[in-house]
């Protein structure tokens, strides 16, 4: 399946991926409104930028072949779609136990403090031009492609 692969050697830490994700998952699809207003109502970017010294990398759910988060999910909110390969999240089933956050080895799942649930990357499912973070990446440090594992 096609996944988003970050390249830490080329990530310049500009954070445009974080903003792209935020706008794509906003109601308004308008970055100014998303950042200024919707964020205050709980909108969170599914992308996280991690920085240490000269290295930075933007991470989000990697939709692992065998995700650690799925078997630990007590409510069945996280499941693996065998067809698409996407680790699917059903917010209605989520009870906010946050076990998945502890299980994820990449730290790619975040707390949704407003709704007491989780936030994770959905690969911008349904978005015609693919994941917004990849499109926003200024230095081609994020690639959305099929790779041999």
């Amino acid at each position: 399946m096609k996944r988003i692969y970050p390249d830490r050697d080329m990530c310049i830490g500009c954070g445009l991926c974080v903003l792209g994700c935020l706008a794509a998952h906003s109601k308004s699809h308008d970055l100014v409104l998303a950042y200024k207003e919707e964020r205050a109502k709980g909108l969170v970017s599914r992308k996280r930028l991690i920085e240490a010294d000269e290295v930075c990398v933007a991470i989000s759910c990697r939709h692992c072949e065998e995700p650690e988060c799925v078997p630990v999910c007590i409510s069945g909110a996280l499941s693996k779609d065998e067809k698409t390969g996407i680790t699917v999240y059903d917010a209605d089933k989520c009870v906010g136990c946050w076990t998945c956050i502890m299980a994820c080895p990449y730290g790619a799942i975040q707390r949704d403090k407003y709704n007491n649930k989780i936030i994770k990357c959905d690969l911008c499912a349904g978005r015609e031009s693919g994941p917004a973070c990849v499109e926003a990446c200024s230095n081609r440090a994020l690639k959305y492609e099929e790779r041999q594992s």
Partner: protein, 508 residues
């Protein structure tokens, strides 16, 4: 306000932030290496300090909501036609520092650009134009010394066979090469990008002074290796790694001036390539200390030919200066296979501003006089000519070829292709576009894959335009245009200028 030094008070730029669009996302803060943008804790928002802005436009380019504009700071100095604000600013700076004013990139001074005063011919009824989309166009160019005559022998069946031994040539798919830019002055990512782009395009790039990193030897077929006065990184493998060797005698952006790569720029990879200790200053003297005459140059040319077993052509790069035609004649007679002439609009990472803006002559005049002199002396075919120094578009390139160049070097244009906004602060080592810097965080801004793609696109675009213009003139090969000054006409030039350029005025 507290007292600030004059120089920073009379700053050049002003950052304008649209309050309706700025979302305080901090992208501008991360992007600005000069710290012109910052987070204002007291006001809880992104703010800026105009005095630190160098006008690189990186923040504006990266701002996701297009909230930023960089404007010239219209500081109302008392109007004075003689004492323009830049003279006053320079004096304020020097009165504080007592040093030589440094500047990066080509000269911004308003010296005539003759390309803008020359116009190309076009076909009409009697010599029809050619459609490059339907007819083949030949841009292939060979750089190197050409034989005076070709001996051909025919066998019993009448098939011809070339008897003359050919001298080594550099084959270019299009008459454009990347000018010498050293690994050190620009970082490894861009050096790699130029190599990748040259390979893709079938042209050559030039290492500049400072050697070639071993990992780029695989691109040797598309590399001209440079031997400059400092001899940094020069060894047998290096000389044999490329398809040509260039001896750099002068540089258009700073004729008569050597180079200086500050110690702080010499990191591990550069130290390994240049063969000098990390952190030590790399000073290239202005003269080659073994060349004080044309005879000495001849010795170096032949030493390099010996070292490479006469397999590669040797180029000599000189700056466009007074009497350049006589100098060029001497260089060709000394055995150079390629003559590179660099005009005063050429770029550089750091040059004394006064040298950059006041020394040398424009490439157009130098090229025309050199080509004419070599023809007059009957030695034009002994060497190819590469012209460089401020080429901005394919129109400039094709006019240079009509004036006598075999190919054109592009340096600044190549850097602009990967983002350079000519802010001219290359010498600070903090290039916001990740070009003239070896700072790890900044150098990352040039992804070689992206940069190579942009360079390839630029040269491809220019080549298509050259084909279009050639077709418009009814020519189907770049060879037919080379030195064909009848295809050029001048507009608004003096008799002396037209005489040097060897072109007629428009209407004649």
């Amino acid at each position: 306000m507290l007292f600030r030094k004059f120089a920073s008070t009379f700053h050049e730029f002003r950052i304008v932030r649209d309050p309706d669009l700025c979302i305080d996302c901090k992208v501008c803060i991360i992007q600005c290496p000069y710290e012109a943008h910052f987070w204002d804790d007291a006001r809880d928002k992104v703010s800026h300090d105009n005095r630190k802005c160098v006008g690189c436009h990186r923040c504006a380019a990266m701002c996701p909501t297009a909230a930023l504009t960089i404007k010239l700071n219209e500081l109302d100095f008392r109007p004075n036609a003689t004492w323009r604000p830049e003279f006053a600013r320079n004096i304020y700076n020097q009165a504080e520092s007592g040093g030589v004013l440094l500047a990066g990139m080509g000269s911004p001074v308003d010296i005539p650009v003759y390309w803008d005063r020359l116009l190309l011919d076009a076909s009409q009824v009697t010599n029809p134009s050619i459609d490059p989309l339907r007819e083949p166009m030949e841009l292939k160019t060979f750089l190197g010394s050409k034989p005076d005559r070709l001996e051909v022998k025919f066998d019993e069946d009448g098939n011809p066979a070339l008897q003359t031994e050919q001298t080594p040539q550099i084959e270019l798919a299009t008459p454009i090469t990347f000018a010498g830019m050293s690994f050190g002055a620009i970082n490894f990512n861009l050096h790699a990008a130029m190599a990748m782009a040259a390979k893709e395009l079938g042209i050559v790039y030039n290492t500049g002074e400072g050697g070639l990193h071993k990992s780029l030897y695989e691109y040797g077929q598309w590399t001209i290796v440079q031997v400059a006065s400092g001899r940094f990184g020069v060894h047998s493998d290096y000389l044999n790694a490329g398809v040509g060797i260039e001896i750099k005698v002068g540089q258009g952006a700073k004729p008569g001036i050597g180079g200086h790569l500050p110690g702080e720029k010499i990191n591990g990879k550069i130290s390994e390539t240049r063969m000098i200790p990390p952190g030590s200053d790399a000073i290239s003297p202005a003269p080659h200390h073994d060349i004080y005459s044309i005879e000495d140059l001849l010795q170096l040319i032949f030493a390099l030919k010996e070292a490479t077993e006469y397999r590669v052509p040797i180029a000599v790069k000189i700056a466009a200066v007074h009497n350049v035609a006589a100098i060029a004649s001497g260089v060709v007679r000394a055995g150079a296979d390629i003559l590179t002439i660099d005009g005063m609009k050429g770029g550089t990472g750091a040059a004394p501003a006064m040298t950059r803006d006041n020394v040398g002559i424009p490439i157009e005049l130098a090229l025309a006089s050199v080509d004419q002199r070599l023809r007059d002396e009957g030695i034009r075919s002994k060497a190819s000519i590469i012209a460089g120094g401020g080429f901005r578009c394919s129109g400039d390139v094709i006019k240079a070829i009509a004036l006598g160049a075999d190919a054109v070097n592009i340096g600044t244009a190549a850097l602009v292709a990967v983002g350079c906004t000519l802010c001219g602060r290359c010498y600070t080592g903090k290039c916001p576009w990740g070009i003239a810097t070896n700072d790890k965080k900044l150098a990352k801004r040039q992804n070689p894959e992206v940069a190579a793609e942009r360079l390839v696109n630029l040269v491809r675009g220019w080549s298509h335009e050259i084909e279009e213009m050639l077709g418009g003139m009814g020519l189907n090969s770049i060879e037919s245009l080379r030195g064909n000054r009848d295809k050029l006409r001048a507009v608004g030039l003096t008799e002396a200028e037209m005489q040097i350029l060897g072109v007629k005025h428009a209407g004649r």
